[in-house]
């Protein structure tokens, strides 16, 4: 008798000739499922090391700018992490899922360049799920928010302005650079420093 049930054991495929494959599809998909279910940072690191350089080169081809290409990597890989829970294997391979996220981020970035619009239409043009939409929840934990605000106040003024502009006033890094009269690169580096500092402070208290 032929069983109509799907085999629950897919592991037999794994581990064979892994190094020879053109695209290690099963490994990538397994890693993404692991990120989705367990927020597994090791699995994410594997996805990152596989996709990030390819996304960067795609971005350079698309925008002709290394800085914009790096932003594409950042946007795409951030969504891969944050939205991992929304991934289901029956929706297709991990490569397809990451590709659609990259394509959407790239589409929105091009629109920003061409028409100076930040309407992020890609999610409506290529919806992840037909009858639903992604709900981006910001901090719901008020205690943590308050604590965070205190910490932000204690940052050096230059770093504080950047954090407040980007996270509380929803300015883009470009707008902020113009507003403060400093290069975008400086905005980025100040932001990175500030976030590092905040992480250390908040992290210490959580431990």
């Amino acid at each position: 008798m032929v069983s109509l049930e799907q085999s629950s054991d897919c592991r037999t495929i794994k581990g064979k000739n892994v190094g020879m494959q053109e695209t290690p599809s099963e490994q990538l998909t397994a890693a993404l499922v692991n990120v989705a279910n367990n927020a597994d940072k090791k699995a994410y690191a594997y996805l990152f090391s596989y996709f990030a350089p390819k996304i960067k080169r795609f971005g350079i081809k698309q925008f002709g700018s290394e800085a914009m290409a790096m932003e594409l990597v950042q946007d795409t890989m951030t969504s891969v992490w944050r939205k991992a829970k929304l991934y289901h294997q029956d929706k297709g391979a991990a490569t397809t899922w990451v590709y659609t996220i990259m394509r959407n981020a790239s589409f929105d970035a091009l629109r920003k360049v061409k028409s100076n619009k930040e309407d992020n239409l890609s999610e409506e043009i290529w919806p992840l799920f037909h009858d639903e939409q992604v709900c981006e929840k910001s901090f719901k934990d008020h205690l943590q928010t308050n604590q965070l605000k205190e910490k932000i106040k204690s940052l050096p003024a230059a770093q504080r302005d950047v954090v407040v502009g980007v996270y509380f006033e929803d300015m883009t890094q470009e707008q902020l650079a113009q507003h403060l009269g400093i290069p975008v690169g400086t905005v980025k580096s100040r932001l990175r420093l500030a976030l590092k500092k905040l992480k250390v402070e908040l992290g210490e208290q959580h431990d």
């Binding site: 950042q74 239409l121 639903e132 709900c135």
Partner: protein
């Protein structure tokens, strides 16, 4: 049944995210109404993904010579990202309705997301522009009352009509909701509707009205489309 679909070439560019917004919105709206094109979209996405992300693909050739600087930048980026919350969740989407001529119609999602200007009326034809700011490309929502018709015209660029509700006819036949009708400079047509209709339209430059009195109406081209 839907008879007119986006060409294979358009679908490929759509999947790659290379089309102007108005065009991709129209294709997305068509796909929402057409199961066959949805399947094609899924197949193309997985094919293009495969091509973009293979180890020997076009975006991998220089992978070997990644610099230390790049490695460090990537590492910092990855560490930043994994500090973020994974907090996305889904909520049911409320379909958006559009009212016209005593009817209430559910707009395709991609179209519903766009900002619509106010309607301008010219006889039986009403038109509102979508505020997409795409230069010579103009996307509009058009509705025509029963018995309405648009004078014969050709197009110097192209004209895309996606029928959303109702029906209309021209020299090539009649159309049903979901039909994706792409015309270029080689086509003349005089669309008319018996029962009235609602369309998404996209034109890439001024129309030419070429018949007798209609020539006087040439400015109407800019008005309607």
């Amino acid at each position: 049944m839907i008879k007119y679909h986006p060409s294979k070439q358009l679908m490929q560019k759509h999947v790659a995210g290379e089309l102007p917004v108005g065009l991709s919105v129209a294709i997305a709206a068509h796909i929402e109404l057409c199961g066959a094109c949805k399947l094609e979209l899924d197949a193309l996405e997985s094919k293009q993904a495969e091509a973009a992300f293979t180890n020997s693909g076009s975006y991998s050739e220089e992978a070997a010579e990644s610099s230390t600087e790049e490695d460090l930048a990537f590492e910092a980026m990855m560490n930043d990202i994994t500090q973020l919350d994974m907090s996305s969740e889904m909520v049911p989407r409320v379909p958006q309705m559009f009212d016209y001529q005593d009817k209430s119609v559910q707009l395709p999602r991609a179209i519903a997301a766009l900002k619509l200007g106010s309607f301008i009326n010219a006889g039986k034809v009403s038109r509102a522009r979508f505020e997409l700011d795409e230069g010579p490309l103009r996307s509009s929502l058009l509705h025509i009352k029963p018995g309405g018709e648009i004078p014969e015209h050709t197009h110097t660029g192209f004209e895309l009509t996606l029928l959303l509700d109702g029906s209309f006819e021209d020299e090539s036949g009649s159309y049903v909701p979901g039909d994706f009708i792409m015309l270029d400079g080689r086509h003349n047509h005089t669309p008319k509707t018996e029962e009235g209709c609602l369309c998404f339209t996209l034109v890439d430059s001024a129309l030419h009205f070429n018949k007798g009195l209609s020539k006087l109406l040439n400015p109407i081209g800019n008005l309607i489309y």
